[in-house]
């Protein structure tokens, strides 16, 4: 009981096996309210798969994922979203054929059923919210342009914005600054600091400068298992981590 009160997300003994290959193997993770947690690890370590398991895209073979005391492994994807979990994909995935405004609007938490979508009306509340988020993600001038025309970094922001408008309590970002310029990275770090006020954030990232800037705590994943966990400094000086990163 104690744990479930303190942690927003409690993952215990999480395992998934793809035809016998354990991409995630007995992983446990505890994430606190308003914490920014970064997962690092070499390619193929199972980082993306952990996010897939949390958001229901992949079904766990074993283990439990509790979000605010609610077991997620039994819920469908859209139910997990409604429970308050938002997820950004590794490759920016936005709706290229729609405008920036429409992209954000579709994530607005209303009219999520067939009938609701048919009768949805773009009222002042929606417009205000879209404008508010757009200025947070540095796209207030781009609301009417087609999303396909955005730069790679702007697409990443747009997807983050689509998550913010859902107002999730747990925000999961898979390599959010990949392909961004130095200045864009800086802006993104500021953005993440700004949005963590009312939520916890789980980020996968390679860029160590970026990790240093944002992380409260770092978890190192290696071959599907947690190798080390703690502050950036502690993890960086962990001999096991140095071995994995420099050993080959």
């Amino acid at each position: 009981m104690y744990q479930q009160k303190d942690f927003v997300l409690t993952i215990e003994g999480l395992t998934v096996s793809f035809d016998g290959f354990k991409a995630v193997n007995d992983v446990s993770l505890y994430i606190e309210e308003q914490e920014i947690r970064v997962i690092v690890g070499p390619n193929g370590a199972g980082k993306t798969t952990v996010l897939d398991l949390i958001c229901g895209r992949t079904k766990a073979t074993e283990g439990s994922i509790k979000f605010k005391g609610k077991e997620l492994t039994k819920l469908k994807e859209h139910e997990i979203v409604h429970a308050g979990v938002g997820r950004k994909f590794q490759n920016p995935s936005i709706y290229e054929d729609l405008t920036v405004f429409e992209n954000l609007e579709l994530s607005f938490p209303r009219g999520k059923k067939v009938w609701g979508a048919l009768t949805f009306s773009r009222d002042q509340e929606v417009i205000d919210k879209v404008n508010e988020i757009a200025s947070m993600i540095f796209l207030e001038d781009k609301l009417d342009s087609q999303a396909a025309l955005l730069s790679h970094g702007q697409k990443q922001w747009l997807e983050i914005g689509m998550l913010l408008i859902q107002d999730p309590e747990l925000l999961m970002l898979d390599e959010p600054v990949a392909g961004m310029s130095v200045s864009e990275r800086k802006q993104t770090a500021e953005l993440l600091q700004k949005i963590t006020k009312d939520r916890s954030i789980l980020v996968i990232e390679h860029d160590m400068h970026f990790v240093e800037e944002i992380a409260d705590k770092v978890t190192v994943l290696h071959q599907g298992q947690v190798l080390s966990e703690g502050s950036m400094e502690k993890v960086q000086n962990d001999p096991k981590v140095i071995e994995v990163y420099l050993g080959h």
Partner: protein, 367 residues
Amino acid sequence: MLQSKLRSLTPKNDVISFLILAAILLVALPLLFDIFRLNLIGKYLTFAFVALGLVLSWGLGGILSLGQGIFFGIGGYAMAMFLKLEASSPENTKIQSTPGIPDFMDWNQLTELPWFWEPFHSLGFTIFAIFALPALFAYIIGAAMFKRRVGGVYFAIITQAIAAIMTILVIGQQGYTGGVNGITDLRTLLGWDIRTDSAKYILYFVNSILLLATLVVAQYIRKSKLGRLLVAMRDSEDRVRFSGYDVANFKIFIFCVAGVFSALGGAMFTLQVGFMSPSLIGIVPSIEMVIFAAVGGNLSIFGAVYGALIVNWAKTILSESYPELWLFAMGGLFIAVVLAFPKGLAGIYESYVQPLLNKKFKSTQDK
């Protein structure tokens, strides 16, 4: 606010296109052609209902069904069953060994009307069935496929297989369905003789107005958030799912809408042409229906109507003079559209005609 909603629903270009189409269907064509030709055009237009459904499900939602003939058939047969029962009154059929049942049943030694024919004595039920049956059937297919995340090519092939099975069933169960000949010799609708020229005129207008109404419904769906969601699903289905939508439900919905549109077309076909047969519901007609939408432009609701008109007109001309060539011509047309004009006639109109019109419009406004 209502006004702003209305405005976003009706962009200027769409209103103009709608008015032009209405003028063509309701004024120009009836003035230009005699009733024989007009009736033929009315028949072509019944396929526009199907093409319109395909614009929504395929163009907008990326769900390609190669079995829309199924739904055309459901609507067409429902209407035909009603009309057939009316034509098979005991007085009309007193020479049969069992008077009061459709003639083909009598020929097939049936002595009693099958139970599922009974409700089609009622026009009210028949009209209800024309909406409800295709929706139900599409729901069953859609739920079975989309909940399991079957899509794309697999979905197309399965719908095609269902169309083939339906055709075989209809042909095989001659006593219940009229078999390969279909249901023919339809005469009156609540006593009103639908074979006369005046009835054909009226039915042509009923059909055209119904088509225009269907266009309005399609436009509403297209411009609603649901329409944008369908486009979004085509771009990135996972993103939609992880934005809190149950993607399957939206696909099922639009597939049902496409099914109901097709059934309306089928029912109007039966009324105007006077029969319904398996030759209209199988694989080849189902693929033809996709071609109507593709030629018109699978993203354009107006294109669907012109596509159905033009391709059917070409088919009539060609199959009058070179019947064996039609299938080749159709295949060639499809390849040409896919390779050279992926947006169909609507795409050609948008990139060549509309800029010219806009320029003209602008320059006259400036003066």
